[in-house]
Symmetry: C2
């Protein structure tokens, strides 16, 4: 199992790339059976940019695709990012050259995974992407390998550390989303352009990949229902807590007879639930299998150390010479999800209303819901200072989402409503 | 990646064996790329015993070693159990015949793992044992494969579902260990002879295996410090909770400059800690890596479904033709743990005393501790009905265990003590 050293080319030298070079420098024998890893080429946008790791002695490639094609390396590591452009070209080049690829690129796999899996399998080389989801926490390996003896029914979790940090801070300080985001950006916990994170798109890329692994479908990013955390208000966090819940950005993929529903949206999780207790930048995930039951996994979802270690574990996997389909079934059999229409889904919900303090308001609200066949599970009316009205929150019993939304649209016609109702789903976890 | 069917022989048809036959019957194509699994032989102690699965059409072997040697199967599954005897002979026979082995036998791997790994590697076949630890929760795969890019510093968790169930019930009902155990036996949650479980030996087998995988050492069961839950009293569960802790049977393996400390003992975990929150028969585990940080994993630790699914995942792994050392490093390099003397370890502790209600008692207790250099972190004295004295509980700051035990021995000379002090460690988690 030992042998000559494995020569790798690394494209992309941001946080994760620099972390990987550092890890290999400290511990080139990390792989099983002591086969040494040697970096034989690097590529990045700028050669001169200051980095925590000295790259002046490493062969430099201006073009990542040239590095991917170079006969001087046996394995290509893609850490450039982005679903298209140079990352995709370089990965395709490496696979076509019969070279194993390890990538941390969630957008690339979520948007072009089936096509790249076909290319990898046609060239009989692995395409591995543990670092694309949950950093060093091995969600990909668990679904790809440990659940293969079972049938997965549901995967649900917290897959974006930035959103989780923001929601945790909002709860702890009572401050607004915009305030906490600005702080997070100053501290480097959020990007200058935070859209991918706070808009739910990063989590959607990740759950799309996990769904493909769990259910043996082609990753189908376009089918994901996506809602971010931008509209979450401190009052909702507070009211939810009074009702025994915490608001989390929950990414989930559920298989049913009708197909697969993949979604990312803010949702209320019961306070005692492990997902509710994963605070700060932590990531957490449930996997529910028919035989295995529920497995819960939690860890750091990002950062140079954890993500580089996940890339290294994939490099070690390549050395085992294992051959398995990229997504549970051979690429030729991969079909896109039969997406379930989110509106036809049945679930419980939290609804917050701001109403004028006048007689008959409650009757109007409850009648509108009753007419729509929506039954109320709990109800909370509480004076809140400076709210500009009386906030009412209620939770519903399970109802088709379409029915609830129709009832809320009718409710908007009530004159006593000061603003449109705010609906947040209660997580089905 | 597809190909002709994989023929397996299954020795041992208890809960897990029957679960595996059922799984394969329902889903012979569970393995990646649709290579069918076919059972071509079974062996068990009795052919006639009633089973949930009909075996009358399967070729029968009275001797598991004959099944292991048979040319009619390509892979041998050992579910007999026991560290020696027929299980060991059969596994050795299969490995010598150049046949991959999948086993759920924790005692066998914990006690003879290095020797069997050498045999497997000499014959260039995998020896896999995911089902030996935490049932369907893939602790073995995580340590063997996902952490290989990192350096593991500590593994700690709840690895015995029977003990966890008993402790959870004792807390919920206030009943004694003996009472709850008797109930658990009636319900089938505990064996007729519960020693392996409640004595901590089962958890010690499991943590020995995890330590070997985490640190690349030979499994060294004899080096584990083992204490069970038999002596836990309801009063300790109650008092610990008043102090903000829950008593769990914690199995841990910690690496330091001095070596590896492997232990199983009852310990206090802070109520908010994920290990404290894993109740009932759940298993839970922390893995701490230098780069990855803390990964937490939780799931069912036993049962036909989860354990059979873990065996199936191992069978699927065999089909990938992956080659890696059984325990991180080649068997020839495996050395036993350099065991750290438990008494030299430094940690915090909970101490419960039962004293006579008379003046000067507290002074005597605190002076004895102070003389030994043990400093007190918290102190709780509370009247308890029918306690036959005044219970005092205290927690200490970190101190060498040897020093604390010496102080407690001196304390026994105090006339005011009604019974010897009860010490329970506070988990370092």
């Amino acid at each position: 199992m030992s042998g000559k050293s494995l020569r790798i080319g690394v494209a992309g030298l941001g946080t994760v790339g620099a972390g990987l070079l550092k890890l290999i420098d400290e511990r080139p024998l990390f792989a099983p059976a002591g086969r040494e890893v040697v970096v034989t080429g690097v590529s990045a946008r700028s050669r001169k940019r200051p980095r925590p790791f000295d790259i002046s002695n490493l062969p430099w490639f201006d073009d990542p695709a040239a590095l991917a094609a170079s006969p001087d390396n046996d394995l290509f590591v893609e850490l450039i990012g982005g679903s298209d452009g140079p990352a995709k070209v370089a990965v395709e080049t490496a696979l076509k050259a019969g070279k194993p690829v390890v990538t941390a690129n969630k957008a690339l796999i979520a948007e072009h995974g089936a096509e790249l899996a076909a290319l990898a399998e046609a060239n009989d080389v692995p395409l591995l992407f543990e670092a694309a989801v949950m950093g060093g926490t091995p969600a990909v390996k668990m679904l790809r390998e440990a659940m293969v003896g079972d049938e997965v029914e549901q995967v649900a979790g917290i897959l974006n550390g930035t959103c989780n940090y923001i929601l945790t801070e909002m709860e702890a300080t009572g401050r607004s989303f915009a305030d906490v985001l600005a702080d997070a950006q100053r501290l480097g916990y959020a990007e200058a352009d935070p859209t991918m994170d706070v808009g739910g798109f990063d989590a959607a890329h990740k759950i799309t990949i996990l769904a493909a692994l769990a259910f043996g479908c082609a990753p189908t990013y376009a089918a994901a229902e996506i809602e971010g955390v931008e509209a979450i208000e401190p009052i909702d966090i507070r009211m939810a807590k009074d009702l025994g819940y915490r608001i989390k950005l929950v990414a989930s993929a559920v298989k049913s007879a009708e197909g697969v529903a993949v979604s990312v949206h803010p949702a209320l999780a019961p306070l005692a639930h492990p997902l509710a207790q994963a605070g700060g930048p932590l990531n957490a995930l449930f996997i529910e299998g028919r035989r295995i039951g529920r497995i819960f996994i939690q860890g750091a979802g990002a950062g140079a150390g954890p993500t580089a270690a996940a890339v290294a574990a994939d490099i070690a996997d390549v050395m085992t010479a294992a051959r398995r389909p990229v997504f549970q079934v051979p690429a030729a059999q991969l079909k896109p999800f039969a997406a379930v229409d989110a509106k036809r889904q049945v679930g419980r919900a939290y609804v917050r209303l701001l109403v004028r303090d006048q007689p008959g308001v409650l009757a109007g609200v409850t009648e509108t819901l009753a007419e729509g066949g929506i039954s109320i599970d709990s109800f909370l009316q509480r004076p809140v200072e400076d709210a500009g009205g009386v906030p009412i929150v209620l939770t519903t019993h399970a109802a088709p989402e379409e029915t609830l939304l129709a009832a809320l649209r009718r409710m908007q016609k009530l004159k006593a409503l000061i603003q449109p109702p705010r609906m947040i789903r209660i997580a089905h976890i």
